[in-house]
């Protein structure tokens, strides 16, 4: 398992490009290959997490060296590309693996051969590889490269249904925004490279003093990453994208958006966490997070398209995470750590609840051909499992106890209250409105008269949904277990572990 970090990225890449070749030979061989690749990624990702969380120190994997454990630096200057996985990276890897594995399992039964199943599976693996690379890399340029890989794969998946009018339009809009966001990140990387002649995150972090060029680079990084995370007012691409992407892709797109939040955390707390650790940046992120929460929930209230309704719900959850990151950046310790624990915990909770809702929406679309709330109703009679899963996911999303969404929101509310009671009050109000949104969606879809009977979903799709439903219950009933073993170390690694991160990469 010494090569686990790079294999977790390389295997889905290989899987993505080999799947079309195998599909030419035999469709079952392709499916087996995709499943095997997914299983291997899960094993490697879990191995990385077990080692990092077990030892409590970041895992530095050096590429292009005689051995992966070789020193990154020569004469104090980093000369090699590295993967650096600390507890936060390991946690994000787990979230990505969960979303990718569920998405693959669902996609194998959801996609139809005549609609380009091979392409869909390949793109999903490519997106998965990009997300894992993004959360594992310790190099700023490779961060940009992985960001682009996720953008290309995500946009291709959003426009997957080329025979319809709206998906290509949504893909075009998303591609425009992702390209501009990527350009902002690239210019920031160029500015930092021009200033310091290096791309290694730990090395740059050591050198940053707060010069005008560095500040400009931080502003560009924040602008690009906040947009990619879906922060209001640069959020409008997200409902278009989530609403039109095939369901198995949407669950991975949620993890992709969370990878952008991870990137914001890495930039604010690690890369610029020394000389530019200013509360003003935290207030900016917390304010945008709060505006995102309330605007997205209000927009969800007036949606008629179930996919867009869930998409706005997903954007609102991004707001909660941004609020938590912002509060943590304001306080940096004390209630800031509580906020960060809440924000990080909310990532896996969001992946489970929003992911489940999107999968159920996909099952409904597959069964009745539409997700327009005006034409739906009574599906609870024929889609019994799906209706149960939807109710569970919806209540978790709204933060109803004892489900998982409540546990993380509880930490966010309490810590945000310490920073500003107004932010906390808006967050609570938005959660109440979100309950109205999901009750309306559940009623409109599953209750009332049934226009036509819907065929049941394939078992593989139900299993994928069941995994997320089970996770919602387990995370909700035993939050202390996950906070102690996964979330707490991740928050600590980010807030107090900057020195350990730098020392692990640069030595000393």
């Amino acid at each position: 398992m010494v090569h686990a970090p790079i294999l977790a990225i390389a295997v889905p890449l290989l899987g993505a490009f080999a799947a079309p070749l195998l599909a030419k030979l035999d469709k079952r061989a392709r499916d087996a290959w995709v499943l095997a690749a997914g299983l291997a990624v899960a094993v490697f990702g879990i191995a990385v997490a077990v080692k990092v969380l077990g030892t409590g120190t970041p895992w530095v994997y050096t590429l292009g060296a005689p051995s992966p454990g070789a020193a990154v630096t020569q004469g104090g200057f980093p000369i090699r590309i590295v993967l650096v996985v600390d507890a936060l990276g390991a946690f994000m890897g787990i979230v990505a693996i969960l979303a990718g594995a569920v998405g693959l399992l669902y996609g194998l039964h959801y996609l139809r051969e005549e609609e380009g199943k091979t392409l869909g599976l390949s793109l999903l693996l490519l997106l998965w590889a990009g997300i894992l690379g993004l959360v594992y890399t310790g190099d700023l340029f490779n961060f940009f490269v992985f960001l682009e890989i996720t953008s290309i794969a995500a946009c291709a998946l959003i426009g997957y249904r080329v025979w319809e009018s709206r998906p290509p339009e949504a893909a075009f809009k998303t591609m425009t925004m992702y390209t501009l966001g990527g350009l902002l990140v690239l210019v920031a990387v160029g500015l930092l490279y021009g200033e310091h002649g290096a791309l290694n995150i730990a090395y740059l972090s050591k050198l940053i003093t707060g010069s005008a060029v560095e500040r400009l680079a931080l502003g560009l990084l924040l602008g690009g990453l906040l947009m990619k995370a879906g922060a209001v007012p640069a959020h409008m691409w997200a409902p278009d994208a989530y609403g039109e992407a095939p369901a198995m892709a949407t669950v991975v797109l949620v993890a992709n958006t969370q990878a952008s939040i991870y990137a914001i955390m890495r930039v604010v707390f690690t890369l610029f966490g020394g000389a530019l650790a200013r509360p003003g940046i935290g207030w900016l992120i917390a304010s945008l997070g709060t505006v995102t929460v309330i605007v997205a929930v209000l927009m969800a209230l007036i949606q008629r398209h179930l996919g867009r309704l869930i998409a706005y719900g997903a954007v609102s959850q991004i707001g909660y995470m941004l609020l938590a990151v912002g509060v943590a950046a304001v306080a940096r310790g004390g209630f800031g750590e509580v906020a960060l624990r809440g924000g990080i915990f909310h990532m896996i909770n969001d992946a489970a609840s929003v992911g489940l809702l999107f999968l159920v929406a996909g099952a409904i679309r597959r069964a009745v051909g539409s997700v327009d709330l005006m034409g739906l109703g009574g599906l609870g009679r024929s889609l019994r499992w799906e209706s149960g899963f939807f109710l569970l996911g919806a209540l978790a999303l709204a933060g109803i106890p004892p489900l998982n969404g409540f546990a993380s929101k509880f930490l966010i509310y309490e810590s945000a209250f310490r920073a500003s009671p107004i932010l906390s009050a808006i967050a609570v109000l938005a959660s109440i409105l979100l309950l109205a949104v999901v009750v309306r969606a559940f009623h409109g879809t599953f209750l009332g008269p049934e226009p036509k009977e819907a065929p049941p979903s394939p078992k593989g799709m139900l299993v994928a949904m069941g995994v997320l439903a089970l996770l919602i219950l387990v995370l909700g009933l035993f939050p202390g277990f996950f906070l102690g073993r996964l979330v707490g170390p991740a928050a600590k690694a980010l807030l107090a572990g900057r020195a350990a991160y730098l020392a692990a990469v640069l030595g000393g």
Binding site: K173, M177, L180, G181, L184, A212, R215, L216, G219, L220, L222, G223, G224, L226, M227, A231, P233, A234, M236, L276, R278, P279, G280, I281, W283, L284, L298, M299, L301, I302, F335, L373, M374, G377, P402, F406, A407, F410, L411, E414, S415, R418, L433, A436, V439, R440, A441, F442, H443, G444, T445, L447, G448, P449, G476, L477, F478, P479, G480, L483
Partner: protein
């Protein structure tokens, strides 16, 4: 399995046990009620202020639920919806706004 925030705590198992206890209590009260329900009678018809609904009349759809919420917030919601134009040029404009704000905050703090 409690979690603490420094100010308070949350114990989902205790909450779940209490919720189950309250549900059991409610069920016990319900069992004491009069058994007047008859399956397949007019008791199963929806009651809408005593109005007789013609056969095939539309029911109350999901989009009508929380009508009060959306009606009360209509002036605000219509402005908010208009702000979501769906035009990609506007999306880019808002990206520039967020970028300018971020750069200004970073430079001024």
């Amino acid at each position: 399995m409690r979690i603490g925030s420094g100010e308070g705590f949350w114990g989902p198992i205790v909450w779940a046990i209490l919720a189950l206890g309250i549900a059991a209590l409610g069920f016990a009260v319900w069992l004491q009620g009069r058994r007047t329900y008859k399956r397949g009678t007019e008791q199963e018809e929806p009651f809408l202020s005593g109005e007789k609904l013609p056969p095939g009349a539309p029911g109350i759809g999901g989009t009508h639920l929380y009508w009060g919420f959306t009606e009360a917030l209509k002036p605000f919601l219509s402005r908010l919806a208009a702000f979501h134009t769906g035009f990609v040029g506007d999306y880019v404009g808002w990206l520039i706004v967020i970028l300018v704000v971020a750069i200004m905050v970073v430079i001024l703090t």
